[in-house]
């Protein structure tokens, strides 16, 4: 049937349902926010956002298991890899919105610490989510970049939403400046890839990059890889582009810190893995002395491995001397980024399962930890680690849950974090990267010191007050879900891994559509 929309009408638009849902909900919230009276409570808007995210999650589940679908000439692509990442983003956003409701409506806050526009806060979280969803399911450099920018620009504003708060302003400005430099670097790298291949489609790029390498453009390919990787390492806050993280994490509202450390980071990993594995997989050196070998595996990823190791060292050692809890978590997240880079750097056949498993564990433990940090620091009105003193006597359940999240982050056995780390560790051993595995173990041991520092405060130091800590229902729900998740994943890690493996054939990342 001939329609005046031409080819546009022939695409299967239903596969974009998750993105459309988020887009519509974000638009709705912004319109309702405009029409609402100025002083009415914006809480229902957050619930609308949560319902929208759940609905989008349901659509993502509907999309799974149907193989690869591509529309719009590869600029939108549904595959298991994208779907599993979308579920992680959606879960992270729901946690963030639940935390935000409590954060924005808590009482007894100084005037300059208040977020002025609550509605804005909620719909910008959703547009950031939309950006990360686009980043995870696209096979075209232009769309990937637009998604990256949508996520970045939304999070710049979110970091600065406490308009009268000096620290918030300053961290937002630092975030904008370093973010823009990073995206210019990414773009500069991509522009060379475009020049070598004449296309922005990752699959065509893959074919022609191999030819370009053989034609003697190896140097340009290296330059393009490193420019792009350095720029993208901003999103996952790993070395060499990690220095923004402590300042921004400290100055941002706590729910946004959690969002940046989980959703934004996972989106960065989705983009990095998809972009580099798809576009660089056919760059093969046929003239090497010891037979043909993939340049990505044998040369480029070695550097990624070294950067991952430096991330672990820098993150874990600098975290030792932090007294501000959010700053400490920032350094901890730099170290975690180093760990999650290991499967990509070693590139075993289980890279996707290992990365996704670790990200799920990281989502649960980090969200739980930040929810508790938000309650405790909000109550004591200081972000010093000493605000945790005596928490066990004030709220035993919170203290026990926090202990468990910290143990999981540190990688103590029988927790989700331990198995995440264990699988990653095995991947580097299997590939013979003993130095990387060694650095991982050594830095993990270093990290025990600062994680146990918080635990020591909670159980062994007397607090300034013994008054029971009131925990709002929303936070209790987050902590409970995260706690059950962390323990559950820690008890049956194999089932989780098998579930991912059976339901999400993640290797379809590099398959063409329609198979």
């Amino acid at each position: 049937m001939e329609s005046r929309w031409g080819p546009l009408a022939q695409y299967d638009w239903s596969v974009m349902a998750p993105e459309f849902t988020i887009l519509i909900v974000a638009t709705l919230i912004s319109v309702i926010d405009l029409l609402m009276p100025n002083h009415s409570n914006r809480r229902p808007l957050a619930w609308l956002g949560i319902v929208g995210s759940l609905l989008a999650g349901w659509f993502v589940l509907q999309n799974t298991g149907h193989g690869v679908v591509e529309i719009l000439n590869g600029s939108y692509r549904v595959d298991a890899f994208g779907n599993v990442f979308k579920l992680i983003f959606l879960a992270g956003t729901i946690f963030t919105l639940l935390m935000s409701i409590n954060y924005l409506n808590r009482g007894g806050v100084k005037e300059e610490e208040k977020v002025v526009d609550h509605g804005e806060f909620y719909y910008l979280t959703l547009t950031a989510l939309l950006g990360s969803m686009i980043m995870s399911s696209s096979a075209d450099a232009i769309t990937l970049f637009v998604g990256l920018e949508l996520l970045s620009i939304s999070s710049y504003i979110l970091v600065g939403t406490r308009k009268k708060h000096l620290l918030s302003n300053e961290s937002a400005f630092k975030y904008v400046v370093s973010g823009s430099i990073a995206s210019a670097t990414v773009l500069y790298g991509i522009s060379f890839l475009y020049g070598l291949t004449g296309t922005t489609n990752l699959f065509e790029m893959a074919d022609r990059l191999g030819q370009a390498y053989m034609a003697g453009n190896a140097l340009l390919i290296y330059i393009a890889f490193f420019l792009t990787f350095v720029g993208l390492s901003f999103k996952i806050s790993s070395v060499p582009y990690h220095m923004w993280a402590p300042d921004v994490y400290q100055g941002a509202p706590t729910p946004i810190t959690a969002f940046l450390s989980v959703v934004s980071k996972a989106a960065g990993f989705a983009l990095i893995i998809r972009f580099f594995i798809t576009a660089f997989r056919s760059v093969v050196d046929y003239n090497a002395a010891n037979g043909p070998h993939s340049v990505l595996i044998s040369e480029l990823l070695l550097v990624v491995g070294i950067l991952a190791a430096i991330s672990m060292i820098v993150g874990n050692t600098l975290a030792l001397r932090q007294t501000n809890i959010k700053r400490m978590m920032a350094y901890s997240s730099i170290a975690q980024a180093g760990y999650i880079l290991v499967p990509f750097a070693t590139l075993t056949s289980l890279i996707f399962e290992q990365t996704v498993f670790y990200l799920i564990a990281y989502l649960l433990m980090n969200m739980g930890a930040f929810a508790i940090i938000m309650i405790v620091t909000g109550d004591r009105e200081t972000e010093d680690i000493r605000s945790f003193a005596g928490l066990y006597h004030r709220a035993p359940f919170l203290a026990i849950a926090m202990t468990f999240f910290l143990l999981s982050l540190a990688g103590i056995p029988i927790s989700a974090g331990f198995f995440g780390k264990f699988y990653i560790f095995m991947s580097s051993l299997v590939m013979g990267n003993y130095w990387l595995a060694g650095i991982m173990i050594a830095t993990s041991v270093v990290s025990y010191y600062y994680y146990f520092g918080i635990i020591r405060q909670m159980y062994m130091r007397p607090g300034e007050t013994e008054a029971p800590l009131r925990v709002p229902a929303g936070i209790a729900v987050i902590v409970l879900i995260a706690f059950i998740g962390t323990v559950g994943v820690g008890i049956v890690p194999d089932s989780v891994l098998n579930f991912i493996h059976a339901n999400f054939p993640l290797m379809d990342l590099i398959e063409a559509a329609g198979q």
């Binding site: 920018e149 302003n169 300053e170 400046v177 522009s191 070598l196």
Partner: protein
């Protein structure tokens, strides 16, 4: 006489380096934002030069540069807005005075 591709790339490289240098060293925050624009414009020159003289010359590069111009504008608009709110509270636009977050 046509200008070879390498000259365009060289101009873009110089522009990118000037932008990076400015963004990292300048005291005035507005200049820092301007320097970031320089870096993004270097990318645009690259893309357009490749679209015209590259090994696979086609229109995609020009379309990409339209996207990057738009996004650069959005980014700097947000950057300026944040700078204004910072200026209202702090009465300064000097980057080296933004040091409250050191510890």
């Amino acid at each position: 006489m046509t200008v070879p591709l390498a000259s365009y790339l060289l101009v873009a490289l110089i522009l990118f380096c000037i932008g990076l240098y400015g963004a990292l060293t300048k005291r005035n925050a507005v200049i820092v934002l301007l320097s970031m624009e320089l870096m993004l414009n270097a990318v645009n020159i690259n893309l357009v030069a490749f679209a015209k003289f590259g090994a696979f010359a086609n229109l995609t590069g020009q379309i990409f540069s339209l996207f990057s111009i738009t996004l650069a504008a959005a980014e700097v608009a947000v950057g300026l807005a944040i700078l204004i709110s910072l200026y209202r509270n702090r009465r300064t636009v000097n980057v080296d005075e933004m040091d409250l977050l050191k510890r």
